[in-house]
């Protein structure tokens, strides 16, 4: 009797585990997988999105410069601008976006459960995420690196001064691992205090629970810029010079949906190409009417020298002039950067995020 009850319990346990397995893995999206429903449509996100009339994007709501919720309820930041760029490309109207706030821990579940079409939430491109989490990274919109922030009046000037320190870190991020590796390499003993998000860390840091706070430098710059004035404002914080990791951030889509992947990827590359070619929101109309070069004509879907316009847009399943909408309504990479990231104190010039023409890493494959 006792034994059979135990057996029942184990079977029940197993059953629930299986359900979880079936729900969380999207490598195997057959029509017959128990929870079919919308799953069938997953291989054609582009069609789903176009039919729906808006794109649903997972963003962050607490990171100035990237994804931040304004007091008036609107979202702002580079990630948000790219969401608008995708909407402009799909519908010719950058406002056709629905934002879903994704946390660090739930973002991949939101994506694989098809709650969102694309995840643009300062997500670091790593091999294990790309391979194991059934997601595909489209392009890098910001080359970040992990840094450490401390109180400006503390005596901590490098990571070697952190012996014995408690360092606050966000849970469920690559920063935890980088911190462990970076400080182990420096031979520094520390305690990591892992908290759920930036707001909690802010609280703990202000209280003195941790002496230092680690995160991507883009994030730290944003947190610094919005550090409460009552606690000393941005001037009371200082970022240490070391960079602990490579953090390429960019939009993520589900695996196995190449049409949608291509759309997201080429919208991003399109903004970079426009930056390289000198096309911006101010001159895009004039450039489209009378493109000065073949490359610009290809990008904007305009005809050059009497030849047929390129099929850049139509081959993606979009309007031939989709990049005109993107650049006209959102802008090129540089305009987006200057509007969102430059204000939090990260200059583009001389950084990894400068155009390749200026020695940076922002580079679009050729459009032809």
């Amino acid at each position: 009797m006792r034994l059979s009850r135990l057996m029942m319990m184990m079977l029940a346990m197993l059953a629930i585990g299986m359900i979880a397995a079936a729900c969380s893995s999207d490598e195997d999206e057959e029509v017959d997988s128990g929870d079919a429903g919308e799953v069938v449509a997953s291989s054609d996100t582009l069609k789903t999105v176009l039919d729906r009339g808006k794109v649903i994007v997972g963003v962050k709501d607490s990171q100035p410069g990237f994804g931040n919720l304004n007091p008036d309820g609107t979202f702002a930041g580079q990630d948000v601008e790219y969401a608008h760029a995708i909407a402009a490309a799909l519908f010719g109207d950058k406002s056709k976006v629905e934002f879903v706030v994704a946390s660090a821990a739930t973002r991949f579940e939101l994506l694989s459960a098809e709650e969102i079409d694309v995840l643009i939430r300062t997500t670091t491109w790593t091999s294990s995420r790309d391979i194991d989490l059934s997601s595909s990274f489209t392009a890098t919109t910001f080359y970040d690196g992990q840094g450490i922030i401390v109180n400006a009046d503390s005596a901590i000037n490098s990571i070697n001064d952190l012996e014995g320190a408690t360092i606050c870190v966000t849970t469920g991020t690559t920063t935890e691992v980088n911190l462990a590796n970076g400080l182990a390499a420096a031979g520094v003993n520390y305690t990591a205090l892992t908290l759920a998000g930036d707001a909690e860390i802010n609280e703990a840091f202000i209280a003195g629970r941790c002496e230092a706070w680690t995160g991507d430098k883009g994030n730290l710059a944003g947190q610094r810029s919005s550090f409460p004035a009552a606690e000393g404002g941005p001037e009371s914080l200082r970022v240490l010079p070391e960079t602990l990791s490579k953090e390429p951030l960019g939009p993520v889509v589900r695996d196995g949906d190449t049409d949608w992947y291509d759309v997201v990827q080429w919208v991003v590359f399109g903004t970079m190409a426009a930056d390289e070619l000198g096309v911006n929101s101010g001159n895009v109309v004039a450039m489209a009417a009378n493109p000065p070069t073949k490359d610009i004509a290809n990008l904007l879907g305009a005809s050059f020298g009497g030849a047929e316009p390129s099929n850049f847009g139509t081959s993606l399943g979009l309007s031939p002039t989709f990049m005109q909408s993107v650049i006209g309504q959102v802008g090129n990479y540089d305009e987006i950067y200057e509007r969102t990231i430059a204000p939090i104190g990260l200059a583009r010039e001389g950084s990894l995020n400068a155009s390749w023409l200026d020695g940076g890493l922002i580079y679009s494959p050729p459009i032809k």
Binding site: M9, L11, M13, L14, A15, I16, G17, M18, I19, A20, A21, A22, S24, S25, E27, D28, S33, G34, A104, A105, F108, E109, S128, D132, L133, S154, A155, I156, N157, N160, D161, L162, E163, G164, A165, T166, T171, G172, T173, E176, V177, L179, A180, N181, A184, V188, T191, A192, L193, T194, L195, A196, E200, E203, A204, A207, G208, R209, E211
Partner: protein
């Protein structure tokens, strides 16, 4: 049928292997109890440390919640107006608000408001209270500790024998021989003498403030109670205590009034009536619902994740974020809570059987 279908499905998905657990964790844990995991150890080691952190919370939480609940439950029935009202206010405010909010409030409004370590509140140089936690003195043992324990056991046996012998003498000859007192004195004497003979095997370990790196203050040594642990523990104890108080009150009120009155007629004091007559009988009614509360506390301990106390869910989430494999990890978490809860159930059920009236 369904189970077999799902099992087959999972095999197709090939996502129920646990091989990934031998990979290195790479992430540190802020708090550990009895375990010695570091970032180079395997994920299984990290998960084990998470289990111990949960068990620590559950064991201490259950003991303290029971004590608080019994006190509050008895207080609600007190004839003292102030005491019963205070207990009522406690029970009604705590059990009618979400535990999650209470834990966050304990953490941010109480524990994060203590001074920084350099200005720590200090009691006689042995207790330190700061935003980095509470540091208490502890004892460390050295090599001859085992020998001393053997002496203690021998002393205890002899003391019990003495007590038994004196007690028999009392019964046979009448009068009081102070059996317990003599036995205790004998035991204390043996303990002190052998402690000195074995070369004082216990060393006090008092915490002290240390400065490392660039003016980074820490309290080192002794027992460290981290603010995250303290906040979750306090939240769980106070929340569960409110429910236990109601169970205790119900158990006492379910007894016939005559029990208390008869005990009073025999001349027992209020304390004796409570501890000898009322509570032992109420216990039979209290235990089954009390078991539920212990199980609730065990499962509620997972809320510790919100303030970064590295218990099972916290470690599981970090693992999932690092390497994926959500299904097997959630299955592990599921199984772990199931085992913890079953252990508590089995223990409480056997305790329940032992206090029931024979023949009922």
């Amino acid at each position: 049928m369904f189970v077999f279908y799902m099992a087959n499905k999972a095999r197709e998905l090939d996502d129920l292997g646990f091989d990934f657990l031998s990979g290195s964790g790479d992430f540190p844990l802020s708090t550990q109890w009895l375990t010695n995991y570091d970032a180079n150890d395997s994920l299984l080691g990290a998960y084990g440390a998470g289990i111990f952190n949960t068990v620590r919370l559950v064991i201490i939480g259950i003991v303290l919640a029971t004590v608080l609940g019994v006190l509050a439950g008895v207080a609600r029935l007190s004839s003292n107006w102030l005491v019963s009202r205070l207990a009522t206010v406690y029970v009604e405010t705590i059990r009618n608000t979400p535990l999650l909010i209470q834990i966050v409030i304990w953490y941010t409004v109480v524990f994060l408001q203590f001074p920084r370590v350099e200005n720590a509140i200090e009691f006689g140089g042995i207790f330190y209270l700061s935003v980095k936690g509470l540091a208490l003195p502890s004892l460390t043992i050295d090599g001859s500790f085992g020998l001393w324990v053997i002496f203690l056991i021998v002393g205890a046996v002899v003391a019990f024998a003495l007590q038994w012998w004196l007690h028999r003498k009392e019964e046979v000859e009448g009068g009081s021989r102070h059996a317990v007192m003599w036995a205790f004195l004998l035991f204390a004497g043996v303990a002190v003498v052998t402690y000195l003979v074995t070369g004082t095997p216990l060393e006090p370990d008092t915490p002290s403030v240390g400065i490392t790196g660039a003016n980074i203050y820490n309290v080192n040594g002794g027992i460290q109670v981290e603010p995250e642990f303290a906040a979750v523990l306090l939240g769980l104890v106070i929340y569960t205590g409110a429910f236990i108080a109601e169970i205790v009150r119900g158990g006492i009120q379910a007894l016939p009034k005559g029990q208390n009155e008869a005990a009073a007629a025999l001349g027992l004091s209020a304390y004796q009536r409570l501890t000898l007559i009322i509570l032992p009988q109420a216990l039979r009614i209290i235990i089954p619902p009390l078991t539920n509360q212990f199980l609730n506390l065990t499962k509620n301990s997972s809320l510790a994740v919100v303030i970064g106390y590295p218990e099972i869910i916290f470690v599981g989430n970090t693992m999932i974020n690092k390497i994926g494999h959500a299904a097997p990890i959630y299955l592990m978490i599921f199984g772990t809570y199931l085992v913890l809860s079953l252990v508590i159930s089995v223990a409480m059920n056997s305790f329940n059987r032992s206090v029931q009236l024979a023949g009922r």
